[in-house]
Amino acid sequence: MSKSDNFFVFLALITGAICYFTNGLTGIYSALDYSLNLIILILPTLAGGLLIGGLIQQFIDQDKINKALGEKSGLSGLLFATLAGVITPGGPFTSFPIVFALWVAGADIGALVAYIAAWSLIGIYRLVIWEIPMMGLDLSLIRFLVSIPLPLIAGISARWIVKNTPLKPQVKSNK
């Protein structure tokens, strides 16, 4: 996690340096001003969203999720994975550990791909904290609606690829 902390500092330094060379100090000042305003704008929803994440976690029963996502779970497994992705709160630092755990526990690649697609495309958590406040209700809802069938398409494609091409996923044994 500290690696990705540094990554952001690094990105800010690089882009800041380029900004200084192209736009000078005024560029830096207006970027600072913009960021500060945005932080103030986001903070109330961000705090609420983090609390929602913690509260939702109290209802997730991991054993049940693992059982429902196996290789022979069919379309209902993909639907279930999609639903789990939609309600998984937090950033990639919470979702990828879950994906890995599910994989080791026997979930198949179709379910995992559907889960990741659902989490990244129609996760309610991100929709509510980030997208609606920043992009407005109309555009966010249109995007949400058209994206609902997409995780299923991704999951079915992934199962097809594994079945019909030499590309096979391999579960890495524990580290």
Binding site: F8, T45, G91, P92, V146, A154, A158, P169
Partner: protein, 171 residues
């Protein structure tokens, strides 16, 4: 913006009540702890992520790009937006502000949706930092191939939706 605020806090209170009635005060404490940990981790990244977005907005010829992917740019605009979105580094804190600049600069709704979807699915930074190390490159390859068309589909669906909304009243 206000609707978003209200929605979030209504959610918080409803869920809080559900947790309290099912798991009692302990459940609430665990929720708070989880939220606190995330808040600390985010607070170390967010200021820099936001700054990066603001700097990129200063440097990048975003207005030109928004013109290229305007409402009339069609399928090509959707594909370009999806690729641009996928190349964008960082999480929602950097990408939504940039998408917003796109929107303000005149990009069409299908193109913005393709941009956000492209970033959601391909997010270079997330793949490098989280996905590849935990799941391995073979998994990443299969996932990326199976998801490759999704942002373009999303853009096309929005195009159909908005097309219908605009055209229907004229009949």
């Amino acid at each position: 913006m206000i609707t978003g605020y209200i929605l979030v806090w209504v959610f918080v209170f409803v869920l809080g009540f559900l947790v309290y009635s099912n798991k009692g005060v302990d459940g609430l404490k665990r929720s708070g702890k989880f939220a606190g940990h995330q808040a600390i981790s985010i607070s170390r990244k967010m200021p820099f992520a936001l700054l990066t977005a603001a700097f990129i907005a200063q440097i990048a010829p975003v207005e030109d790009l928004a013109y290229i992917v305007g409402p009339d740019s069609g399928l090509l605009g959707i594909i370009i937006s999806a690729i641009l979105g996928g190349l964008l580094p960082g999480g929602p804190m950097t990408s939504f502000p940039i998408a917003l600049i796109f929107f303000a600069g005149g990009a069409g709704a299908p193109q913005i949706v393709a941009f956000i979807s492209g970033w959601s699915i391909f997010a270079v930074h997330r793949v490098l930092v989280f996905e590849a190390p935990t799941m391995g490159w073979r998994f990443v390859t299969i996932r990326l191939i199976s998801c490759a068309l999704l942002p373009i589909l999303a853009g096309i669906f929005v195009d159909w939706l908005t097309f219908n909304v605009i055209i229907l009243p004229q009949f």
